[in-house]
């Protein structure tokens, strides 16, 4: 070791994360999309449409920030869509009953925290994969939502909430401001605060984090609570935007939020994540949908296009493998199965 000059040189060349081809893939894809859409439509880069894109991405973005914490911590939250509907309905019911907007928001926040706690505690107690746990709680959430709302949209909100629906501080819709605020908080929590390091360690190697003295269970639960709170924010925002709560809203949010996180380049199995990447992932999805709407492409073709872009985006991995540095590391990522057996999974021997 000590006397080995090669290892020092080698180290300098490998290992150090550097801006690689594959990390540029999604940004390049985004730029390409923007260029194509600007050329082929006359309204894409208009101020109105940009705000439009931002407005329509807001909800997905907010829940994806929450999902980023969960995934970074090694979890997975399939209940986010169900939660958005549930918390939205709760907010609306309380607002309708009390005619007080603040109480409604508070109620949604409380159910968000409680639901996140439920998810997190079940995950750490039952020690079953969060995929299954949150699938279960998601089904429960859907049922509870339908019962609470009587399967109907909940109206009768205080009239003043209409202000939110149309309000545009500084010319930007309030829902975009809300997204920006959520982003700032998330960015701080993940990248600046020590909490972010705890989350990434817990997700990167849970046992190692535990042995280093971190409270991994608490961290896991906290990530689910954050996701619940962001789901509540999203639910309340939808309620405000639609001026009624919709029990059926949010159906695709869980899968698309996971997709946005991973599309951005964070690791699906945790330990590596960034809010900027998530934002990028959400942007790609939203720009595609907006562009196709502008082009007048029908729903069915839109689905095809979104799916293809998904797959294309994942080809970034292909680039990664083809890039010379890591090219022939056969032992590294076995495709389908389970590569990091060494990592989080001792039982795999």
């Amino acid at each position: 070791m000590t006397g080995n000059p090669v290892s020092a040189t080698r180290a300098a060349r490998r290992g150090r994360p550097r801006p690689a081809l594959e990390d540029a893939f999604i940004p390049v894809l985004l730029v390409a999309l923007v260029v194509v859409l600007t050329m082929s439509t006359d309204s894409f880069l208009s101020r109105g449409n940009i705000l439009n894109v931002l407005t329509s991405m807001a909800i997905l973005a907010i829940v994806s920030f929450g999902q980023t914490f969960v995934i970074a911590g090694g979890g997975f939250d399939l209940s986010i869509g169900g939660q958005v509907a549930l918390h939205g309905v709760v907010a609306a019911l309380v607002m309708a009953a009390t005619q007080n907007i603040l109480l409604g928001l508070l109620a949604a926040a409380v159910t968000g925290v409680l639901f996140g706690l439920l998810n997190g505690l079940l995950v750490i107690w039952l020690k079953v994969h969060p995929f299954m746990i949150t699938l279960g709680t998601s089904v429960v959430a859907t049922g509870v939502t339908l019962i609470a709302s009587n399967s109907e949209s909940v109206g009768g909100l205080p009239p003043s909430i209409a202000g939110f629906g149309v309000g545009r501080p500084l010319g930007v819709p309030w829902i975009v401001w809300l997204m920006v605020a959520c982003f700032a908080i998330s960015l701080f929590l993940l990248s600046v605060s020590p909490f972010g390091l705890r989350v990434l360690s817990t997700g990167g190697n849970r046992e190692a984090a535990r042995l280093a003295g971190l409270r991994v269970d608490r961290t896991t639960v906290t990530t689910f609570v954050i996701a619940g709170v962001f789901a509540a924010v999203a639910g309340a925002a939808i309620t405000a935007r639609l001026q009624s709560a919709q029990p059926t809203v949010g159906g695709e949010l869980e899968l698309f939020s996971v997709a946005a996180v991973v599309l951005g380049g964070s690791a699906l199995h945790g330990g590596k994540a960034s809010m900027w990447r998530t934002l990028l992932g959400v942007l790609v999805i939203s720009v595609i949908q907006n562009g196709l709407n502008l082009l007048g492409v029908g729903d069915a073709w839109q689905a095809v296009a979104v799916g293809l872009v998904f797959i294309l985006a994942m080809s970034a991995e292909l680039l990664r493998r083809l890039s010379p540095v890591r090219r022939s590391r056969p032992v590294e990522p076995p495709s389908a199965g389970k590569p990091d057996a060494a990592k989080g999974t001792p039982a795999a021997v």
């Binding site: 000590t2 150090r16 190692a208 003295g213 971190l214």
Partner: protein
Amino acid sequence: MTSSSAVPAVRTAGITKRFGAFTALSEVDLDLAPGEVHGLIGSNGAGKSTLIKVLCGAITPDEGTLTVAGDPVSFTLPAQAERAGITVIHQETQLFPDLSVADNVVVSRPNLRGPAGLGLRDRRADRAEAARLLESLGLTIDPGRLAGTLDLAEKKLLQVARALRSKPRLLILDEPTAALEARQARRITTLIRGLAADGLAILFVSHNLDEVLESCDRITALRDGRTVARLAGDQATPHLLAELVAGQQLANAPDRTPHEAGDLLVEAELGGADIAPTAITLRHREVVTLTGLLGSGAGRYARMLSGATRPDSGGVRIAGRLLRPHNRRQAVAAAVGFVPEERKRDGIQPMLSVERNIALGDIRRFSRFGMLDRRKIRRTAERLIDDLDVRPADPAFQAGLMSGGNQQKVLIARWLAAGARVLIVEEPTHGIDIGAKQNVMHQLRRFADERGCVVVVALEGDEFRSITDRFVAFRRGRLVAELAGNVPHADLMAACLGTTSEGRES
């Protein structure tokens, strides 16, 4: 074997393998004769495992040729190498934990029954064959057991059984004895000699140079991917081999200087899963080595001591303060550092940088106003990297990509940064080369001298003689002896084995 010089079973010529800009193997020549045990040695990262992967078709070399029994071949799949008679037991245990022992043995070619082409598995034949093969290796286990429930040596032997089933002409074993206790390791080396006597060519990789000296007919040493020496077994001396691996003159291990122990630091009385309640005390400036055979309980005891696992009874007092059991967090707060046996699996955060790995032991110390204090982290990491000679000396390097020895140092750095006073280290020398070993020993001794005390857990306690003040021997879940650091080797062994000191050669 007299025929060994005739036609080599397998020969490589000019093998070169690059990973990007880094050359892992450079023009390596090797010939392996039937009936011969060929030793392959070299420091961590010398390229041993890479060479083996080339031999078995797991990776394709950039240059060079491979001949089997005189015919040039090129493999792109492990299956092709296997068909050509080359079988490998890899460094990482390659088993299917959820499959039975029998299934693990026959996995690549299960026995079939019924009309040809119908493809019905014959499980009875599978079991019989597995039992037979395992018995020929001296192992009687139920072939229906799940492989995940075997212990380490059993797992290795299971892999040997699988390898022998394909009747290879060349059997490659990549560090088969690492993590095995001496007697189990001896089983493996004896087995190897026996197989060679039956006419197999054997390529044997080990960091245990004594083992290599004892069992190999010829020895090849790699350094930085190049062949630096080819020796006949009888030309080699321990000293020569050590130098070949380390690439330099090794300073002689410092003579043990007696350390006068300081104040009482740790008092523990713990009992747990198959461990009888046992009391241990540790003082300032002490290095205590817990040792015993595999499964003796030394490791389990140390893990309870560190708060990593739950004891059934008892507790730990650090500097007079009683800790809650099974609570790593509180143990860390009381300055107890722990470096687990499988550092890659349980110690390192593979995706985080070296500096963040170091900061992890006490995140609070590295935060200000609810924010990570990046400058402080960087400064501390740079100082420790320099201190412990971590390579590469780059705080932003991704820890998962480092070699084992350097990961070990990063973990020690973590506890230094967290201000630990008690350091509990399991098997600190597993899988690291002799140069790195010296360095780690040095660091452990220094830790005890400057910070508090160190607990080493090792199957081969004797290896730590030069830094140990006190040995504690475990057998079958009991503390059987506390011995001074300069106790004769034979007495230490006797304590572990439960025999009298004449019972065993040294």
